[in-house]
């Protein structure tokens, strides 16, 4: 720790950022991808691309459930929407414990659909806060990283002396450290509201896990009671044992939309279907409001009459739901989602430039051998393994989805193994190759994998850009276009990295560099 307030904050920012930087990069990048979780999942299941939902999809789902699970205690229906036109049904048989059976249905016909097994966008979503570790462990690690991220944001703002004077300053032509510092500052300051809010609300999403004591005191340690009250779920009624047909879904959905002034229903759960005491609970779509906790309405399943009116949510709960919803970013439509995605990429780039800056600073300051040189080498290798290794792994996940045989055993896991195998190879490559070479080679590889993805998609499926663009299917076309754009950007960065030489190498071939540059400019 250094003497003085600002130097000590600078010290804190430098080391707090380094310790969790690689982790934060992964959390930011997979979280950013998760804004398009349904689109990614849909892209990864080409068998479902032709589905067009019917207006009475819910009734068709009920018909299917009556066929496959007439005796089940609970039915759940995930309705199709504009982002994911397929429909999921789940049911739980009596005595089956907590295990659900599940089927994907064609929302146009209500027939079951066979799609390739994949985790789709859910993999990135889960990785974002569980890191593919056992859930509790992962969530604690991510929570700790997020806490340190908050520390890094606050100490970074204090450290940055000329926040307004340097607001528009970016000098890429200046020598290494200065240019990286400018880029880091610009990415941090210009999206500072996003960085702060997303980190803070991220911890809100798991706050009852990180700080359960308030709940424990207020509910005498009965956390289940707390969650039940939060979810506004009424205690389930007992079955009457008298058979009664389930009322049609259409009028109930129409009434729910009327009560919610036009907001859609995303989920239906039916308890004791076919019984006189059946209830139908509908959940409001979270794309239609900022708040995350979709309101619920309960209907009498036999008569179709509305049983509960929506209650006003208490202020504390609605604040929590609002902050939670703000983190998920499912409201506000595609343009706002694009802004969230952009801000997420900015946050990812901020972490990446911070990591590079740490390494560049040390490279110019320390010379020779010894422990500090070894430490710098380790940081550099880890930087490459995280900053370019993870995008490579994500691209490999998409390639695996298209290239693995459709009926291979444990297919969803095989895709995830593609992801980790490529990440491990990238880490080994980063450790073995000298710094700048490792950066360039991995950037080129990632550029090719991302840029080539629309081509691969065109070869292996019929939902390629030539079909999806004229159809106006922006969900599918968007995945292709965004991966292509990522490929182009990574390619430009690779070209830029290849162009610049580290100061020492430049000094050695001082006579040759201008000629090499001239040749390159001529070739272009």
């Amino acid at each position: 720790m250094k003497a003085g307030f600002r130097p000590s904050m600078a010290w804190l920012h430098t080391w707090a950022g380094l310790v969790v930087g690689w982790l934060l990069f992964a959390i930011f990048l997979t979280g950013t991808a998760s804004y398009f979780r349904p689109e990614i999942t849909r892209w990864m299941q080409p068998e479902l691309h032709a589905v067009v939902p019917a207006p009475d999809a819910a009734q068709r789902a009920v018909a299917r459930l009556q066929q496959v699970a007439p005796r089940a205690n609970n039915w759940f229906i995930e309705l199709p929407d504009d982002r994911d036109p397929s429909m999921q049904i789940f049911w739980r048989e009596e005595g089956a414990g907590r295990r659900f059976q599940r089927e994907t249905l064609n929302a146009g016909t209500g027939e079951p659909l066979q799609a390739r097994a994949t985790r789709g966008g859910d993999f990135f979503y889960r990785f974002h806060f569980e890191l593919h570790m056992p859930p509790l462990w992962g969530r604690w690690v991510v929570g700790a990283a997020a806490m340190i991220m908050l520390v890094a944001i606050v100490s970074g703002v204090i450290t940055h002396r000329r926040i307004f004077k340097d607001f528009f300053t970016f000098r890429p032509a200046k020598a290494g450290q200065r240019a990286w510092l400018d880029a880091h500052n610009a990415l941090a300051v210009l999206a500072l509201p996003y960085h702060l809010v997303i980190t803070y609300t991220g911890m809100i999403t798991l706050m009852t896990m990180y700080m359960p004591w308030g709940v424990d005191v207020a509910y005498d340690g009965n956390r289940q009671a707390f969650f039940a009250e939060m979810a506004q779920s009424a205690p389930p009624k007992k079955a009457a044992g008298v058979a009664a047909p389930l009322a049609p879904m259409g009028p109930m959905l129409a009434q729910a939309e009327h009560v919610w002034s036009g907001a859609r229903v995303s989920r239906i759960s039916v308890s004791h279907p076919g019984d006189a005491n059946a209830t139908v609970q509908v959940t409001r779509h979270d794309g239609d409001e900022m708040s995350r906790a979709g309101g619920r309405l309960v209907f009498n399943g036999a008569t179709g009459a509305l049983l509960t009116r929506p209650e006003a949510t208490p202020a504390a709960a609605s604040t929590h739901d609002m902050l939670y919803g703000l983190h998920l970013g499912r409201f506000g439509g595609p343009l706002l989602r694009a802004l969230f995605f952009l801000s997420g990429l900015v946050g990812t780039a901020m972490v990446a430039t911070g990591l590079v800056l740490w390494a560049v600073k040390r490279q110019t300051r320390t010379s020779g051998a010894g422990w500090s040189a070894f430490g710098n080498r380790c940081v550099e290798a880890l930087n490459v393994a995280a900053v370019t290794g993870l995008p490579l792994a994500m691209a490999a996940y998409f390639w695996g989805n298209r290239l693995l045989p459709v009926d291979v055993a444990a297919r969803a896991d095989a895709e995830i193994r593609c992801f980790f195998a490529v990440w491990i190879v990238a880490a080994i490559h980063a450790a073995l190759r000298p710094g700048l070479r490792a950066w360039r080679e991995q950037l080129v590889a990632a550029a090719l994998l991302f840029g080539g993805l629309p081509m691969l998609n065109a070869i292996t499926t019929s939902s390629h850009l030539a079909n999806t663009l004229p159809r106006g299917d922006w969900g599918l076309a968007g995945v292709d276009l965004v991966t292509m754009a990522i490929g182009i950007v990574l390619g430009l960065v690779a070209w830029h990295v290849g162009w610049r030489r580290p100061p020492r190498a430049e000094a050695r071939r001082v006579g040759r560099v201008p000629m090499a540059r001239a040749a390159r400019v001529g070739a272009d």
Binding site: A191, Y194, L326, L342
Partner: protein, 107 residues
């Protein structure tokens, strides 16, 4: 409305940027006189402020407020990363973008 909000926010940032000596010289190769600096600063803050109602008109309350922060970040980043490579273009865009955004409102 969305494109107008973005154009206004961008123009606002350009005006604030040009009100600073360092960046004014970067774009125009001469210094701004004090009244120009004042006028640019005022115009900049006004344009940024006006982009908020544009966001609210496009998205409604409170989503528009969230979107406004996203729009500000996007506009600011566009300016900052364009400035060193094409300083003149940043100023030209500040005039062209709002003019282009207005006809988009009609469709």
């Amino acid at each position: 409305m969305v494109s107008l909000a973005l154009a206004l926010a961008y123009a606002g940032f350009v005006a604030l940027c040009l009100a600073m000596d360092r960046h004014h010289g970067q774009v125009f190769r001469h210094r701004a006189v004090p009244w120009q600096r004042q006028a640019l600063r005022l115009a900049g803050w006004l344009l940024l402020a006006v982009s908020l109602p544009a966001c609210l008109a496009g998205w409604g309350w409170p989503v528009g407020l969230v979107a406004w922060f996203g729009i500000l970040s996007a506009a600011g980043l566009l300016l900052v990363f364009l400035l060193p490579y094409a300083p003149r273009v940043t100023a030209v865009l500040a005039l062209v973008l709002p003019i282009c955004a207005v006809p988009l409102l009609l469709f």
